[in-house]
C-alpha cells in the first residue's frame, strides 16, 4: 500500500492540474447592463464554478492533440472558419512564437470553445455568470459603480491591439479568486447569441435592421459602463463559427 502512495499523490496532482483551476462562485443577485422586457433588472445567479484564468495556448494544444478533429487543418468548416481558426499558430500542432503556452488562446470559434469545455465535463459560462463574476474587484463583489474600476478597465482599450498579449494570471485576482476577466481578452459565453434577441414575430419584415432591437435593450442606466456594454455589442455581432485575435474563453461548471 505504502508503495502506491507516491503514485497516488502524483495522480492527484495531475488531476488537479488537468482540472484547470476552478474556483467556486457563490450564488447572488446582480443588475445586468442588459435590461430585458421580462425582468425587473435584477438577476439571480446560482452558485457555480469558474476557471480561475482563461484557457491558454498550452491547454488548447493538449486538447487538440487528444481531439485531432479540432486541428485547424481537420476541423469541419461548419464548426470553425478555415484561415481564421488558430491561424496565428505556426502549425496545426505548434503554437510557436506568436502563441506562447502561457498566453490566452484566441482565434477559437464558439464550437471549439464549447468542445474544449465539454472535454473537461464543463461548459462555457452564461453571460449572467460572466457578468456577475466580472463585476467584482479585489475586495468587493460589485465594484461597478466605482469610477476607478471603470477607468482601470477602460485603460485596456487605450492600449494598442497589436502589442504582445501578457501571459494569463498576471492581473490581481478578484474577490472570488478569478483573474483576467478584464484587460486581456474578450470571452465567449454559452448564450452569446441570446443576449439581445428581439421579440417573437416583430422582425420578419426587416430582419437585418431589426433583429436586435426590442426585447433585450441595453440599459441606459449603465451607459457609463462602456467596458461591459462593448462586450455585449461585440458578442452579439458574432456567429458561432467566427473567431478573432482577441477572443478567447474560459469554462464553468455546475456545482454538484
Amino acid at each position: 500500500m505504502r508503495r502506491f502512495a507516491p503514485a497516488l499523490l502524483l495522480l492527484l496532482a495531475v488531476v488537479a492540474r488537468a482540472d484547470g483551476g476552478y474556483v467556486r462562485i457563490p450564488a447572488g443577485e446582480y443588475k445586468s447592463v442588459i435590461r430585458y422586457e421580462d425582468g425587473n433588472g435584477k438577476r439571480q445567479v446560482p452558485a457555480f464554478a469558474m476557471m480561475k484564468r482563461p484557457v491558454t495556448n498550452g491547454e488548447f494544444l493538449a486538447f487538440v492533440r487528444r481531439h485531432p478533429e479540432w486541428r485547424r487543418d481537420r476541423v469541419p468548416s461548419i464548426f470553425a472558419e478555415r484561415g481564421h481558426y488558430l491561424a496565428h499558430w505556426s502549425a496545426p500542432l505548434q503554437p510557436g512564437a506568436t502563441a506562447l503556452p502561457q498566453q490566452a488562446v484566441t482565434e477559437v470559434s464558439w464550437f471549439a470553445a464549447t468542445a474544449f469545455c465539454e472535454a473537461q465535463n464543463a461548459r462555457l459560462p452564461t453571460w449572467a455568470e460572466w457578468e456577475y463574476t466580472s463585476a467584482a474587484d479585489a475586495t468587493r463583489r460589485d465594484a461597478r459603480a466605482d469610477p476607478q474600476w471603470r477607468e482601470a478597465i477602460l485603460g485596456w482599450y487605450a492600449r494598442p491591439a497589436n502589442a504582445p498579449m501578457s501571459p494569463v494570471g498576471k492581473s490581481p485576482a478578484n474577490v472570488y479568486g478569478v483573474q483576467d476577466l478584464h484587460g486581456l481578452i474578450w470571452e465567449w459565453t454559452q448564450d452569446y447569441a441570446a443576449m439581445l434577441v428581439s421579440g417573437d414575430n416583430r422582425t420578419q419584415s426587416d430582419p437585418d435592421l431589426a433583429k436586435f432591437c426590442g426585447a433585450g435593450a441595453l440599459s441606459m442606466d449603465d451607459r457609463e459602463n462602456y467596458a461591459v456594454l462593448m462586450r455585449v455589442a461585440m458578442l452579439s455581432s458574432l456567429e458561432a463559427v467566427n473567431s478573432t485575435s482577441s477572443l478567447g474563453f474560459r469554462c464553468a461548471r455546475d456545482l454538484p
Binding site: 430585458y36 469541419p76 464558439w110 464549447t114 447569441a193 434577441v197 417573437d200 420578419q204 433585450g216
Partner: protein, 190 residues
C-alpha cells in the same frame, strides 16, 4: 448460413454509404440524440440522403411557430406530387423541457402533418444550442417560459449543406426559397 450471407450482402451498400464522410460544411455532422414525435430516436447524420427543409420552433409558441409550420406547408402545397415525395421537413424544438414526444405528436396531429415526411423533434439543451448556432437561429427563454427567437427555414441538400434560407414566413412561400427547393429536388439523388 445462406440467410446470413444474404443479410451481409444487403449490408454492403449500407456500409459503403455510411463510410463516406459527410462534407465539411454539412449540418448533419452536429452530434446529439434526437427524438421524433413517434418516439423514435435518431441522429442528424441518419437524415443524410434526402433534401430537407429545417427550422426551429416550440410547440406552445403563440405566434411565430404556427406561422413557421404554415410556411413549411406552403412549400409542400407548391410542389408537384413527385417532388413532394422526395422532400423531408424537420422542425426541432428549442423547448426540450416541455416538448416531449407526446407534445410533439399532439401538435403533428393537430396540424395534420404527414409523419412520413414531417419530423418534429426534440433533443437535449446542449444539442439545441449547437443546432441553433449552425442554423443561425437565436433564442432566449423568457421568465414566463416562452421564448424570444428569430424564425427562419433553411433548405439542406441531401448531404446536409445549407443551400437556401428564408425569414419570410407565411402560407405563400418566399419565391426565391421555393425556386431553390425545386432546383434541389431536381438534382439526381444519390
Amino acid at each position: 448460413m445462406k440467410r446470413a450471407c444474404l443479410f451481409s450482402l444487403l449490408l454492403i451498400p449500407v456500409l459503403a454509404f455510411a463510410a463516406a464522410p459527410l462534407p465539411p460544411d454539412s449540418i448533419l455532422q452536429s452530434s446529439g440524440q434526437y427524438t421524433r414525435q413517434d418516439g423514435r430516436n435518431f441522429h442528424l447524420a441518419d437524415r443524410r440522403g434526402s433534401v430537407q427543409v429545417v427550422g426551429m420552433f416550440y410547440s406552445s409558441c403563440p405566434y411565430m411557430c404556427p406561422l413557421l409550420i404554415d410556411t413549411g406547408l406552403g412549400v409542400d402545397h407548391a410542389l408537384a406530387p413527385g417532388e413532394l415525395a422526395r422532400l423531408q421537413v424537420m422542425l426541432v424544438s428549442i423547448d426540450p423541457a416541455r416538448d416531449t414526444p407526446a407534445a410533439l405528436a399532439a401538435l403533428a396531429k393537430k396540424r395534420h402533418l404527414d409523419g412520413s415526411r414531417w419530423t418534429l423533434a426534440r433533443t437535449d439543451e446542449d444539442s439545441v444550442r449547437k443546432l441553433a448556432a449552425l442554423l443561425g437561429v437565436r433564442y432566449r427563454r423568457l421568465a414566463n417560459g416562452d421564448f424570444n427567437h428569430t424564425s427562419r427555414l433553411l433548405l439542406l441538400d441531401a448531404e446536409g449543406r445549407i443551400v437556401a434560407q428564408t425569414e419570410k414566413m407565411g402560407a405563400a412561400p418566399d419565391p426565391a426559397f421555393l425556386a431553390a427547393v425545386h432546383k434541389a429536388l431536381a438534382q439526381p439523388g444519390r
